[in-house]
Structure formats: C-alpha cells, structure tokens
Symmetry: C2
Subunit: 194 residues, 2 copies
DNA sequence: GTCTATAGAAAGATAGAC
DNA sequence: GTCTATCTTTCTATAGAC
C-alpha cells in the first residue's frame, strides 16, 4: 500500500521538534545552566509536547549532550574563523581577544565547568574538554606563527584563553562588561612587541 | 529559680549546630554549587536535625548567605595576607599567583557567578561582588608599588585576577592542575622586568 | 533549640492511546 | 512522532511536641 507521503510528513515533523528542543535547551542552558533547567522549562520554551521530548531524548542527559555538543562546536568554529582569518598573527590574536562577547552573560561553554549535572557525567564533560583543548591549540598555533617557541606559544595560549574565561567571571561578578575589556587590554598590552 | 546552667547548655548546643550547618554548606557548595545542594544534603553531612536547620536558617537562601559570606571573607583574608606580606612587589604578586590552589576543584567564590541560585538573588551576589572588587583593589595596589600608573595598575590587576579565574576554569575543564600553573607562568613571564 | 511527622510543589520520567 | 494522564522521588519548607 502507498504510504510514502505520510511517512515523509512524520519525519519532517520529527526533525522540527528535535531542532526546537535543542535550540530551547541551548538558550536555557546559557541563561541558567543545565542543573537549573528542567525538562518542563524546555517544553514550555519550545512549545513542544512532553511525549515528543521523551521520544527524541529519553533522559535529560541526552538532551543536554545534544545541546552542549552544538554549543561547543559552534563556539570553536567561531573562534577558528577569527584566528585563521587574514592579517598578522598579532592582529588575529587581537581580533579574537577583542571580538564582541556578551561578557555579563558568561561563557556558554566555560560556565559548564561549574555545572553539577555536567561535571557528574563524563559524556557531558567531553565536549567541554574538547572545546578548550582545540581552542588552546588554535591560539598556540598563532603564537608560533608570531615567532614563539612551541613551548612558550602553548603557555601564552593557555594564559590568553584564561584571560577570556576569567574576564567572563569578573564581568559577571561585577555585572559590568568593562571587566572583560580591561582584562583583555591588560593582556594585549603585555604581549605587544614581545 | 536557678536555671543558668541549662540555659548556657542550650546556647552552646545552638551555636554548635549553627556552625556545623555553615561548615557543611560551605563544603557542599564548594563541591557541587549552591543550586545543586539540597537542605537535606546539608542535614545529612552535618548530622544536625531538620528542626535545627530551619530554626537557624528559615530558608535555603539564609543558609547560603551565611556560607557564601564566610567563604568570601576567608578567601579575601587569605589573599590579603599574601599580597601584604614582606618582599618586593613582584615577589608578593608572584607569591599570590603561585600559591597552592586546588585548581581542579575550581574557585569557591568564582564558581558562584554561574550558580543559578546565587545569581537570582542580589543578596547572595553581594559577597561575590565585594570579594572581587576588593581583590582587584589589593592587586592593583601592588602594581602601583611596583611603579605602574594607577590606571595601568588597575588594568593589570584585572588581568591578573582573570588569569587565576580562567586558570580554574581550564584546570576543571581539562581535569588537570597544570593548566592553572601554565596560565600563571605565562602571565608572570610577561610582567617580569616590565 | 531540637526533633519527628507531614505537606505542597516541582523534577524527571513512564504508559499507553492516537 | 506526538499527546495526555499518571507516577515516584526529591525539594523546600511547616507544624507542633519536647
């Protein structure tokens, strides 16, 4: 019997609900963390029904994994595009460090390191681990291009990424985006002509 | 009638229970955050009864406030004692940046900036705000002593504190205390003879 | 001040119809 | 794939005896 049309229809609807769920989860996780976000909130924000949520993501961990993975990949892609653009190594580094950030909102990925739900699961920690590993690698590469030894380049890359993450923490703590700007300026000032 | 002995006894017991509760809360908040810590866990860890908890701290927020206040004050006192010790400005700065830290555990105060319970309450945010404000002031003072202009001293102080906070994030993300060490070494290397 | 018993609400998930 | 109804456990507290 002919039922191709119906099948296709079902599949389209499925993909949409899945996407809506992941998008809402990403948003809510960025705002309040994974631990503090309930399946019910994701349901309400996405407009999707309870049955759909548990069909696509049997547990909260499954939904969290999908959302965290997306956020990490997107953040890394964004960093890569800035760090690998044209310009001198210092220009690219400077462009990455000063790129627009919602500092008071905090880092979507970095904040997960103090989220109980994430830290309780190796699976959820993995994307966070990978994000920072690759980000440091990318930044270190630019320092090497700038003439640093591999060891020193790596050290400075770690410091640079720490400045950003710390900038987020300070901007959030003092509710002021200026802390991020000044942390970055202070760092840039130190690496200039070195 | 004579009942002084009994009264005293009651008071001692009261103070002890209060102390036990705050101590347990501090420990659990440091391990898993405020949001993820339930009154029940604090009860079990402290060995205190449910009645006592709600007698001393009517709401979870009251307990959190007491514990966070303690942590912030203790952390600031610790920083002050290192930054105001004897030695050259660079020696003191270096001593502060390299002092032993449980980097993989994260910063007890800094992690609160991504805790939903804390960020939802001005009262709970206050100690965190004060901690970082005063810490930056202390570090800036040392940079001034080292010969920097007030403005530049402040900028470098913000960068220095960001390096520590970011070092915590990275050490936690990669589950490796070495990230903190290298972030600090990278920074120290840059401010040396400047 | 401390204890035990109780309670309303929400979290996290399952059951089974459609 | 999606929906509604249901369920268990935990959270955050309150009540009232001692």
């Amino acid at each position: 019997m002919y039922d191709g049309g119906v099948k296709t229809n079902y599949q389209y609807r499925g993909v949409d609900a899945r996407e809506m769920l992941v998008a809402s989860a990403q948003k809510l996780f960025a705002e309040q963390g994974v631990e503090a976000t309930s399946p019910r909130q994701v349901l309400e924000d996405s407009g999707v029904g309870k049955g759909s949520l548990y069909h696509h993501f049997p547990t909260k961990r499954d939904l969290a994994h999908a959302a965290i993975d997306r956020m990490s990949v997107a953040s890394l892609d964004n960093a890569r595009s800035v760090l690998m653009s044209s310009g001198t190594p210092f220009e690219r580094l400077s462009a990455y460090l000063t790129k627009p950030r919602d500092a008071v909102a905090g880092c979507r990925v970095g904040r997960l390191t103090s989220d109980a739900t994430v830290m309780a699961s190796d699976e959820l920690q993995q994307p966070v681990h990978d994000y920072f590993t690759h980000l440091i690698d990318l930044v270190a590469e630019v320092f090497v291009e700038a003439g640093a030894t591999p060891k020193r380049a790596r050290e400075r890359a770690i410091t640079a990424v720490a400045v950003i993450q710390g900038g987020y923490v300070l901007s959030r703590a003092l509710d002021d985006p200026d802390l991020m700007s000044r942390a970055v300026t202070g760092f840039l000032d130190l690496i200039e002509d070195r």
